[in-house]
């Protein structure tokens, strides 16, 4: 990505997150920016999770989600992990390196392994 490329929120929000090993781990629900010394506002993290998604729908729903989940499922990915931006955001690491999308593995390990022919090994 060139230094001068301008991005809008549309280039990030709701885009697919794909890891270096080609796994689809989720979509961007929100972003976090950092106000740095020197007056620079820098995009810091991509955010996923039910609370962030609920906030996109209605504020009260976010409050409810915060009360229910207490941020337990909210995950962030630092922007330094971004390899390339497009409709699919490519990440530098492999799927197991990110907390985002771990629920896929959790469900496989704790539920699907007990169901026949799930392919769990």
């Amino acid at each position: 990505m060139s230094e001068s490329e301008m991005l809008s929120m549309r280039d990030l929000m709701d885009n697919q997150l794909e890891t270096a090993d080609g796994r689809m781990i989720g979509r961007v629900a929100d972003v976090e920016a950092e106000w740095r010394d020197g007056g620079e506002l820098v995009l810091a993290n991509l955010v996923t999770g039910p609370q962030a998604l609920a906030g996109r729908v209605a504020h009260w729903l976010e409050v409810v989600m915060r009360f229910v989940f207490r941020g337990r499922f909210e995950r962030t990915i630092p922007t330094s992990e971004i390899e390339g931006i497009g409709p699919t955001i490519k990440l530098r690491g492999r799927a197991e390196e990110y907390l985002v999308g771990q629920s896929d593995r959790w469900i496989a390990r704790h539920i699907l392994r007990y169901i026949p022919w799930s392919g769990y090994w």
Binding site: Q16, L17, P87, D104, I107, I111, S118, Y120, W121
Partner: protein, 409 residues
């Protein structure tokens, strides 16, 4: 080259074989049994829209390489995406329960005893197909068996030539007193059964599963246009057969057993067998397709790993959400509503929410960022919007009328 033509042929044949399912069987039989040929126009109109939408759906997947639900969320945002998703959850839940009910009735026609006894076994079979069957088998297996529905035409030839009076109902439908609302209701149910949004999601998901590229555009158009064009003839055949057999006997096709009578009368036990086999194959195939379409929709919208070709543990959220959805539909089917009635609820509701389900997709189909020069031509937009609006307007008019009169099947 020959492999390519084989693929085109298979695409066309499977589209023909999978055209009818519980929705089109129910609505076509009720249309014929009640209004003669007077509602064939609804099948034709619905098919035109379906052909356009499926062509778009395949073209979208082949050119943009994006997923259907993913594109809706990327283009409109998460909040808006929840709208078509909610519409799909309700319609697909009713439809899946109805398809499994239709499959169960087909089994009971073969093996006897009440269809409800077979319902849990059918649900288990649908789940097994979803859980482990390869995509090609789901796409082609039931559809090839579904070609038995072409026997509806044999039934017509066995019965003979329809009377001129009956033929004239095609352009001059006969209304007895108070049947206008029923006419509109069946028209809207027919449109809802034909223009099935789940097919659009299933078709685009399937195209991604099979890694379609621009080279696949020919197969796409051939199977959309020829397959569904010829496929609609099976639904039209059932309208004609029901009009010739059931209407004179005042049998309203209110149960699938009654629908099967038309084939039994035309061809005897062989006809009954053909009807039951076609019903089984098409409803079972459609049940798995509805389930897959819903799972595609959710997993793609939320950006999860998805795909029928992957082991369930490799796409755990996709397979879990599909299993949970099947359970929900299973419970809806246990509530005691007859599959025909459930089908009519599903198809009329589908028609009512068609604008919510498909307008966002039409807007995506005009986005050159996704499709470049393969974006929709203006006439495609106009034609699709006109049919969706016709279905919506008739639904808005007829559903309250049918609710007030306590009818609907």
């Amino acid at each position: 080259m020959s492999t390519r033509w084989l693929q085109v042929g298979l695409g066309v044949i499977t589209a023909i074989g999978s055209f009818v399912e519980v929705g089109s069987v129910t609505t076509a039989a009720q249309a014929g049994a009640t209004f003669g040929f007077g509602l064939i126009w609804a099948v034709v109109l619905g098919t035109c829209a379906l052909v356009l939408l499926l062509d778009m759906s395949g073209r979208f997947a082949a050119v943009s390489k994006r997923t259907y639900a993913g594109a809706i969320r990327e283009r409109f945002g998460f909040k808006f995406y929840l709208l078509p998703l909610s519409a799909a959850l309700v319609t697909n839940c009713l439809l899946l329960a109805a398809e499994m009910g239709g499959t169960s009735i087909a089994v009971s026609l073969f093996l006897g005893s009440e269809w409800r006894r077979w319902y849990p076994i059918v649900a288990l079979l649908v789940w097994l197909a979803f859980w482990r069957a390869p995509f090609k088998l789901i796409e082609n297996g039931p559809a090839l068996l579904g070609l038995l529905a072409l026997s509806f035409w044999v039934g017509i030839f066995k019965i003979g030539v329809p009377s001129p009076g009956l033929v004239s109902t095609m352009w001059h439908p006969h209304f007895q007193q108070g049947t206008v609302s029923e006419y509109l209701y069946i028209a809207v149910a027919t449109l809802g059964a034909t223009v099935s949004p789940y097919l659009v999601v299933f078709y685009s998901g399937g195209a991604r599963e099979e890694k379609w590229s621009r080279r696949s555009l020919g197969i796409n158009r051939a199977s959309a246009v020829l397959g569904n064009g010829f496929g609609s003839l099976t639904a039209i055949a059932l309208v004609i057969l029901s009009a010739m057999v059931l209407k004179p006997l005042n049998i309203g096709a209110n149960t699938l057993n009654e629908v099967g009578l038309s084939m039994a009368r035309a061809m005897g036990p062989v006809g009954s067998f053909m009807f039951a086999a076609a019903l089984f194959a098409t409803c079972f195939g459609a049940a798995v397709e509805v389930l897959l379409a819903m799972s595609y929709n959710i997993a793609q919208g939320f950006g999860w790993e998805w795909g029928e070709e992957k082991q369930p543990a490799e796409a755990a959220r996709f397979n879990t959400v599909g299993t949970l959805f099947l359970m929900a539909a299973f419970i809806v089917g246990l509530l005691g509503v007859d599959p025909v009635q459930l089908t009519l609820y599903a198809t009329t509701f589908t028609a009512l929410v068609l604008p919510i389900s498909l307008f966002p997709f039409l807007i995506v189909m005009n986005d050159r960022e996704y499709l470049g020069e393969q974006a929709n031509r203006p006439w495609m937009n106009v034609a699709s919007v006109v049919v969706l609006l016709i279905a919506f307007v008739i639904a808005v008019v007829s559903i309250p009328l049918m609710v007030l009169s306590g009818g609907g099947g």
